[in-house]
C-alpha cells in the first residue's frame, strides 16, 4: 500500500487498482502464501511448546491488530484494550454456558458484544482526544475490571468461569494441535480483513482522521462516526482474540485482564510499528518471545558458575516486567517507527548493496 518501499525496476502501476493490492509485489504474495501453507504443517514438525507459543501469538495478534487499527491508523489512544480482551473472553464463555449457543458461533457473537461495549466506552472519543481520551479509557479499564470482579452472573465472580472447547461437526478441538488450526484460521482471516479494511473508504477515512482531523472534517469525513467506528472495530478484534483465549484455556479468571495487559498490547504495536499490519505481527512475536528468551537465559545462567545468583533467579518475574518497560522506552527513543520500519530499511540496504544510495 505504501509507496515508500522500493519496487523492482520496471514494476510500474498504471491504475489505482494495482496500487491498492494487499501485497506490494508478486514475491511478497507468494512468500506469504507459502508461509501460511508451511504454518499448516507446524503441529507435525514442531513440538508442543512452540505450538502453544504460536497459539498465543494468534489470539494476541488478533487483539493487537484491533488496537493498531485504533491507535496506529485512527490516532486514538486506548489504555483499556486488555479489559476489552477480557470482556470478549467472558462474553464467549457466558454465551456458551448460559444460552447453549455452539462455541464456534459464540466467538463472533462475543466479538459483537465486545464491540457494543467498546463503542459505549469509546463514546467520549466523539468529544475528546489525545491525552484526555487516554485517561478516559484508563477509567474504562478500571470500571470493566471491577465489573468482572462483581458480576457473578456474567463472569462467575472470584471463582472465574469455565469455557468449553470448540466443537465443529462433531469434532472437538480440545488439544493444542487441533486448536492451533482454529487459531491460525482466525488469525489469517482477521488479518486479511484488516488489510482489506485499510484499502476501503473507511480505512482511508481512519487515516485521514489520524493525519489531520480538522482537514478531514472539512473534506467531509464524519469525525464522530469514524472515531466511534474505529473504537467498535478495535473492540471487535479484542473480543474475538479474547474469545479464542477463553476457549483455548478452557477457564477464564478475572485476574489476568489488568492494566498491565493493556500496556502490553500497546507495547506490541509500538514495537512492531504503529500503522503497520505486518508490524503488528512482528511486535506480537517479539513480545511473546521476550519473556521466553529471558527465562531460558536465566535458566542458562543458573547452570554456570558465575551466574548462579539467587537474586536474579528469584526475581525472574520482575525482570520480565522490567524488560517490557525497558523495551517500550528503548523502542520509543531509538526506533519510534518500530520493527516494520527497521525491516524496510534492512530490505532496502540489501537491494542497493554494495552501494548505499
Amino acid at each position: 500500500m505504501s509507496s515508500l518501499t522500493m519496487r523492482p525496476c520496471g514494476d510500474f502501476r498504471t491504475s489505482y487498482k494495482q496500487d491498492n493490492t494487499i501485497f506490494e509485489t508478486k514475491t511478497i504474495r507468494w512468500v506469504t502464501i507459502f508461509t501460511i501453507i508451511a504454518l499448516c504443517f507446524a503441529p507435525v514438525l514442531l513440538d508442543g511448546y512452540f505450538i502453544t507459543l504460536l497459539i498465543q501469538i494468534s489470539y494476541l495478534g488478533i487483539a493487537a491488530l484491533g488496537l493498531n487499527i485504533l491507535v496506529g491508523y485512527t490516532g486514538q489512544i486506548s489504555l483499556g484494550h486488555g479489559a476489552f480482551f477480557g470482556f470478549g473472553a467472558f462474553a464467549s464463555a457466558w454465551l456458551n454456558t448460559s444460552f447453549n449457543i455452539p462455541v464456534f458461533l459464540c466467538i463472533p457473537l462475543a466479538g459483537f458484544l465486545t464491540m457494543a461495549v467498546g463503542m459505549m466506552f469509546g463514546a467520549p472519543a466523539a468529544r475528546i482526544k489525545g491525552l484526555y481520551l487516554a485517561i478516559a479509557t484508563l477509567a474504562s479499564q478500571f470500571i470493566i475490571e471491577d465489573f468482572f470482579a462483581r458480576a457473578e452472573w456474567f463472569s462467575g465472580g472470584a471463582s472465574g468461569s469455565m469455557a468449553e472447547p470448540v466443537k465443529l461437526f462433531g469434532f472437538v478441538f480440545d488439544t493444542d494441535q487441533s486448536f492451533y488450526y482454529i487459531a491460525l484460521f482466525a488469525l489469517v482471516f482477521m488479518f486479511i480483513w484488516g488489510c482489506n479494511l485499510m484499502r476501503s473508504r473507511d480505512g482511508r477515512a481512519f487515516i485521514a482522521v489520524r493525519d489531520h482531523y480538522l482537514s478531514a472534517e472539512i473534506m467531509g469525513v464524519k469525525l464522530n462516526k469514524y472515531r466511534l467506528l474505529s473504537f467498535g472495530i478495535s473492540s471487535f478484534y479484542a473480543g474475538i482474540g479474547g474469545a479464542l483465549y477463553a476457549h483455548y484455556l478452557g477457564y477464564v479468571s478475572a485476574e489476568g485482564f489488568t492494566i498491565m495487559m493493556s500496556i502490553q498490547f500497546l507495547g506490541m504495536i509500538i514495537i512492531g510499528g504503529l500503522g503497520s499490519i505486518k508490524g503488528t505481527l512482528m511486535g506480537v512475536i517479539f513480545m511473546v518471545f521476550l519473556p521466553e528468551v529471558l527465562s531460558s537465559g536465566v535458566g542458562f545462567m543458573k547452570m554456570t558458575d558465575w551466574g548462579n545468583i539467587p537474586m536474579v533467579i528469584d526475581g525472574l518475574a520482575y525482570i520480565k516486567e522490567m524488560a517490557i518497560g525497558l523495551v517500550i522506552i528503548g523502542f520509543l527513543i531509538f526506533e519510534p517507527e518500530g520493527l516494520s520500519h527497521r525491516w524496510t530499511q534492512i530490505k532496502n540496504y540489501w537491494k542497493f548493496y554494495p552501494f548505499a544510495y
Binding site: 484508563l138 470482579a149 500496556i263 520509543l332
Partner: protein
C-alpha cells in the same frame, strides 16, 4: 444515618484529598511546563518512600535526616530522568510520550518490587502519640502532620511561582516556550527543574502516606487515582488540582459510606472516582479551571 461516622469520613477525605491535591499539583506542574502527562507519578511516591525507608532502616539515620536525604535523592533522580529519557521525546507525538512514562512506571514498579519485596513495611515510630482528639474527632498524628506538610508545600509553591526568578521563568515557559527561549530563559533547565520539583514533592507525599499505611507497591496506585482529581480541576490549573483533589478525596469516602450503609455494591472507594472521571470528561472535558484548547489549522 450515622452522622458521626459520616463527619469522620469527610474529615478523612479532606486530609487524603489534600494529599491528592499535592500529588496533582506535581502532575500539573510537569504537564504545564513540559506538556508531558506523567503516568509514572505514582512511582515517584513509591521510590521516595522506599529510599526513605531504606535510609532509616539500613543507614539508621534519624527521621528528619533520612527524610532530607531521600528528598535530595529524588530531586537528582527527577532531573536525571528528564535528561536521559524524556529529553529525546520532545516533539514526539502524544502517544509516544504517554507510552514512555507508562514504560517508566512499569520498569520502576517492578524494580522496587524486586529490590524491596512485595510485603508492606512500616516506618519506625516517629511520634509518641498515635491519635489526638480535635473537637471530638479522632485524628491520627501522622494525618495531622500530612495536612501540615501539604499546606506548607502549597504555600511554598505559591511563593516560589509568585516571588522567585525561577518560578517566573517556569511560568513564562508554560505560557509560551518560544518566546521565553528568545528572552534568554533556558527551557532545558526549566524542564529539568520541573521534573526535579515534581519528584521531590511527590516523594514527600509518598513518605507521609507510607508513615500512615506502611510502604508497599500499592503506593503507586495513588499516581493513577490522581487522574480523576486533575481532570476534574482541569489539567493545566494548579488551583484546580487542589480543588479536584479535595473533591475526589471527600467523594470516595462518602461513596464508600453510602455504599456500606445502603447500596452494598462494594469496592466503591476505588471505583467511584473513575465513574466521576468519565462523567466529567463527557460533560466538561476541560475541567473546572482548565483552559479550553482552541485549535487553528
Amino acid at each position: 444515618m450515622n452522622f458521626e461516622l459520616l463527619i469522620q469520613l469527610v474529615v478523612n477525605g479532606l486530609i487524603v484529598g489534600l494529599l491528592y491535591g499535592v500529588i496533582g499539583m506535581c502532575f500539573v506542574l510537569v504537564y504545564k511546563s513540559t506538556q508531558i502527562v506523567n503516568f509514572a507519578q505514582g512511582e515517584f511516591l513509591l521510590i521516595g518512600a522506599w529510599v526513605c525507608w531504606a535510609s532509616l532502616i539500613y543507614l539508621e539515620l534519624p527521621f528528619f535526616a533520612g527524610f532530607l536525604l531521600s528528598l535530595c535523592f529524588m530531586a537528582a533522580f527527577g532531573v536525571l530522568l528528564q535528561m536521559i529519557v524524556l529529553r529525546p521525546m520532545i516533539g514526539e507525538p502524544i502517544i509516544s510520550v504517554i507510552m514512555v512514562t507508562i514504560g517508566l512506571s512499569i520498569f520502576f514498579q517492578a524494580l522496587m518490587k524486586w529490590i524491596f519485596g512485595v510485603s508492606p513495611q512500616s516506618y519506625p515510630q516517629v511520634f509518641d502519640t498515635q491519635t489526638i482528639n480535635i473537637m471530638g474527632l479522632n485524628i491520627e498524628m501522622a494525618y495531622l502532620m500530612s495536612t501540615i506538610i501539604a499546606l506548607v508545600i502549597m504555600i511554598a509553591f505559591y511563593l516560589f511561582f509568585k516571588h522567585s526568578k525561577h518560578g517566573l521563568a517556569m511560568r513564562a515557559t508554560a505560557f509560551d516556550q518560544q518566546v521565553s527561549q528568545s528572552l534568554g530563559i533556558s527551557v532545558k533547565h526549566v524542564f529539568a527543574m520541573s521534573w526535579g520539583i515534581a519528584a521531590t514533592v511527590s516523594a514527600t507525599a509518598g513518605i507521609v502516606i507510607g508513615m500512615v499505611n506502611g510502604v508497599s507497591d500499592s503506593l503507586s496506585i495513588m499516581g493513577i487515582k490522581v487522574f480523576p482529581a486533575v481532570i476534574l480541576g482541569g489539567l493545566d490549573s494548579i488551583i484546580g488540582a487542589i480543588v479536584g483533589g479535595l473533591i475526589i478525596g471527600v467523594l470516595e469516602n462518602v461513596a464508600e459510606f453510602f455504599d456500606s450503609q445502603y447500596l452494598n455494591i462494594g469496592n466503591m472507594y476505588d471505583i467511584a472516582p473513575f465513574y466521576v472521571l468519565l462523567i466529567i470528561l463527557w460533560f466538561k472535558p476541560y475541567g473546572l479551571f482548565g483552559t479550553k484548547d482552541i485549535e487553528r489549522i
